[in-house]
């Protein structure tokens, strides 16, 4: 299917971001059943899955151009949203190769890569980029290799170094995050950077996840879904800019909740990198407002049940306290109590 990009969309100021019907149907709805609690919900990142969002190594959708522009705006204001510790240079090149190869293979109409030894030419037609460079020589690119390629990809990325039987977040491109700071967290071990997450430590989730990830193999990436909620389709909900977006949380009313409140889903992918043995962690962010979610009957009902019954510790951690009841009341009108199928697939093929 040919992608039609929407370069005029914005994720700030007038918030003109919208999902087409096709984008709604491919949304990676995160709830497999009617309730939610943390688990090590990791599965192989193989092509194919309940919606087309799972059909590529790095999913590209109608928001691609607008999200790359949004990233450029954030970096122009705060260049340190991309930061990589110096010992990760090999992982930077690994990342560039993996993303270029994947995009060119999955979307040949939009991206191409020509390799002749270390002389590479990369063409990104949606963004109008064509660069020839020497693989391994950072001076031949306009940015470091990691920044160069992640400026041309949707979603945030971190680089994990593996040493001492642990993973350390030693680099990242973080411009569309759900309230965590790269500047604060860079260099932390796996348990340290997950420190603020409630309940999951006690359940042993991070011990098991770390054990699993330390054994991650090259060529066998894995994925999981995570979620929160965001008022307005704002990508940059960083702690750095919380003084700019915090007040949004007080603006949700019964009248505007359907359009204003968005389910924010992260399709998280993990790739072992071949030369550096580091792990690339992709955090691809999708936003869909409640009104659009409810156009898929199964999703509207299920989201109502999940939010209604959510553990209070998660409500607080995810920042839902001020508007959760408004959202539950709004969604209740779509929920007739019917049994719903297991899994996240929409169960309809048109809206």
């Amino acid at each position: 299917m040919t992608l039609s990009f929407k370069p005029q969309e914005t994720f700030r100021d007038d918030f003109s971001y919208r999902n087409s019907d096709e984008a709604i149907l491919r949304f990676p709805f995160p709830f497999v059943e009617d309730s939610y609690m943390y688990s090590v919900n990791i599965e192989p990142h193989v092509k194919g899955g309940p919606t087309p969002a799972f059909h590529a190594a790095f999913d590209v959708d109608e928001h691609y151009v607008a999200e790359c522009q949004e990233r450029a705006i954030v970096l122009a204001q705060d260049p340190s949203r991309c930061k990589v510790l110096p010992h990760m240079i090999e992982a930077e090149w690994d990342t560039l190769e993996l993303i270029m190869e994947s995009l060119a293979a999955d979307y040949p109409e939009h991206f191409s890569l020509t390799r002749s030894g270390t002389a590479w030419t990369w063409e990104n037609r949606p963004l109008g980029i064509r660069d020839s460079f020497t693989f391994g020589d950072a001076t031949t690119l306009p940015y470091g290799p990691f920044e160069y390629i992640t400026r041309q990809a949707q979603g945030d990325f971190t680089l994990q170094d593996q040493r001492d039987d642990n993973l350390f977040v030693d680099g990242g491109m973080i411009t569309c995050q759900a309230d965590w700071s790269l500047e604060f967290n860079i260099g932390m071990s796996f348990h340290e950077w997950h420190g603020p997450v409630p309940l999951a430590h006690e359940k042993g989730v991070f011990d098991r996840a770390l054990k699993y990830l330390l054994r991650l193999q090259n060529g066998q990436p894995v994925r999981r879904l995570n979620w929160t909620m965001t008022v307005n389709p704002r990508m940059d909900t960083s702690p750095e800019n919380y003084p700019l977006w915090g007040a949004d949380r007080t603006t949700v009313t019964p009248e505007n909740v359907g359009r204003k409140l968005h389910l924010r889903v992260e399709l998280q992918t993990l790739f072992r990198l071949p030369r550096s043995n580091a792990i690339l962690f992709g955090i691809r962010c999708y936003l869909c407002n409640l009104e659009d979610i409810a156009r898929v009957p199964k999703w509207g009902k299920r989201l109502h049940r999940v939010l209604r019954d959510l553990d209070p510790a998660l409500e607080d951690y995810k920042g839902l306290t001020r508007y959760r009841q408004t959202a539950v009341a709004y969604l209740s009108r779509f929920d007739d109590g019917a049994d719903l199928s297991l899994g996240i697939q929409p169960d309809v093929d048109r809206l």
Binding site: G187, G195, P196, P239, P243, G246, R249
Partner: protein, 197 residues
């Protein structure tokens, strides 16, 4: 709200001389009874120095030897002078040095960061918290550091925001995270309480 129980909070288990080291430097941010606070100093584990910040501008960092000559003591006017000397020292160090730091948390992790920049890391350095619980707070909005914070809410020295001091600690920054407390409703602040004594 102070979010507690966060797992990035370091844990400290006391200092114990590592006899696999050939020589030892113990750093303290204020005068303390080091013989009582560091386990295993008797019998002497080899050349050992005790460096102490005394906070007075009349001392010098000259070596002072104890009665048996085995322990060298140095007194420093301030932390910056101690760290300056430590940097010069680590630049010339060989294998076998063991570092021990005891004091307030910001001091400990400043020592650790300096040591790491000279490749002294892992088992070669031990840290133990002693003294006040007051915190160094990193403002996540403006990146300024506010020192010696004793309260749940503090005005950032950089941007003036009223920061909630979270229990989330960065060893790299040697600081806890501060996040604007009233970003959602301006002026809606909890009562200020002294909680880091």
């Amino acid at each position: 709200m102070l979010i507690s129980g966060i797992h990035s909070r370091p844990k400290y288990a006391g200092l114990r001389v590592d006899r696999s080291g050939t020589h030892h430097i113990i750093l303290s941010d204020t005068p303390r009874d080091i013989a009582r606070m560091v386990e295993g100093l008797e019998p002497a584990p080899g050349p050992t120095e005790v460096w102490t910040v005394v906070g007075a501008c009349t001392v010098t960092a000259a070596e002072e030897r104890g009665p048996d000559g085995s322990v060298v003591r140095r007194a420093f006017r301030s932390r910056p002078l101690m760290f300056d000397m430590l940097g010069h020292r680590l630049a010339r160090e060989s294998m076998g040095l063991r570092l021990y730091a005891i004091g307030e948390e910001a001091f400990l992790w400043d020592v650790a960061a300096l040591a790491r920049s000279f490749g002294v890391d892992g088992d070669e350095i031990q840290l133990d918290h002693a003294g006040s619980e007051r915190r160094r707070v990193f403002c996540v909005h403006c990146r300024a550091m506010t020192e010696n914070v004793r309260t749940n809410i503090v005005a950032c020295v950089g941007c003036g925001a009223h920061l909630t001091v979270r229990d989330h600690f960065s060893k790299r920054l040697a600081a806890f995270m501060g996040v604007q407390a009233d970003a959602e409703v301006r002026g809606d602040l909890p009562p200020v309480e002294e909680i880091f004594r």
